[in-house]
Subunit: 109 residues, 2 copies
């Protein structure tokens, strides 16, 4: 299926801002290893005000399945819980505790 | 300088939403040509609610200079004006009429 591109958005709590930034400057090696193993690549997170945008590329053939499987790995569960605790919901997405997926409306190779 | 990654954010006016989407599904070839010429690549735009997030990679050595030069090309000026007319400012960035640049806080190859 080639390279699939995903964009996602969430907000950051003010009092967890530095914790989140520090952890992403020095992420747990196990998290990086798992992401690479499920064929995630070229993954960036950007911050402006309290808004965050994530961009990643995936070269496998079942993104949701692979992500769900990865979330079962104990150390990933631990990392994810710590990070989700830093989030505020994206506007109009109060029921979503984590990243919301966005629609790709433009691509130039 | 290798690949430099840029993330940027803006909001979309409701009544210009479809116009913006349609134009980015079928962008003017001259715009794509100019972007490639200044060494922009792998450029995606994502939309969720009225928030847009742009991700692009640049392989030149003067991003701001190259962007400024590109904006002087008449057909680019024309395109940019049409697109800026679709925008609402990003929260807390009322003085910025177009995309605001974000800070990259995470990268995984």
């Amino acid at each position: 299926m080639g390279i699939q591109r995903y964009g996602m958005a969430v907000r950051l709590q003010d009092d967890k801002r530095q914790f989140y930034i520090d952890n992403h400057a020095n992420p747990w090696p196990e998290v990086i290893q798992e992401l690479k193993q499920i064929k995630v690549q070229n993954y960036s997170i950007f911050l402006k005000e309290d808004f965050m945008f994530g961009y990643l590329e995936y070269t496998g053939n079942d993104f949701n399945g692979d992500m769900a499987k990865m979330e079962e790995v104990p150390i990933i569960k631990q990392w994810t819980k710590l990070m989700i605790d830093c989030f505020n919901p994206f506007p109009n997405n109060k029921n979503n505790e984590s990243w919301v997926m966005m629609d790709q409306i433009f691509f130039m190779e």
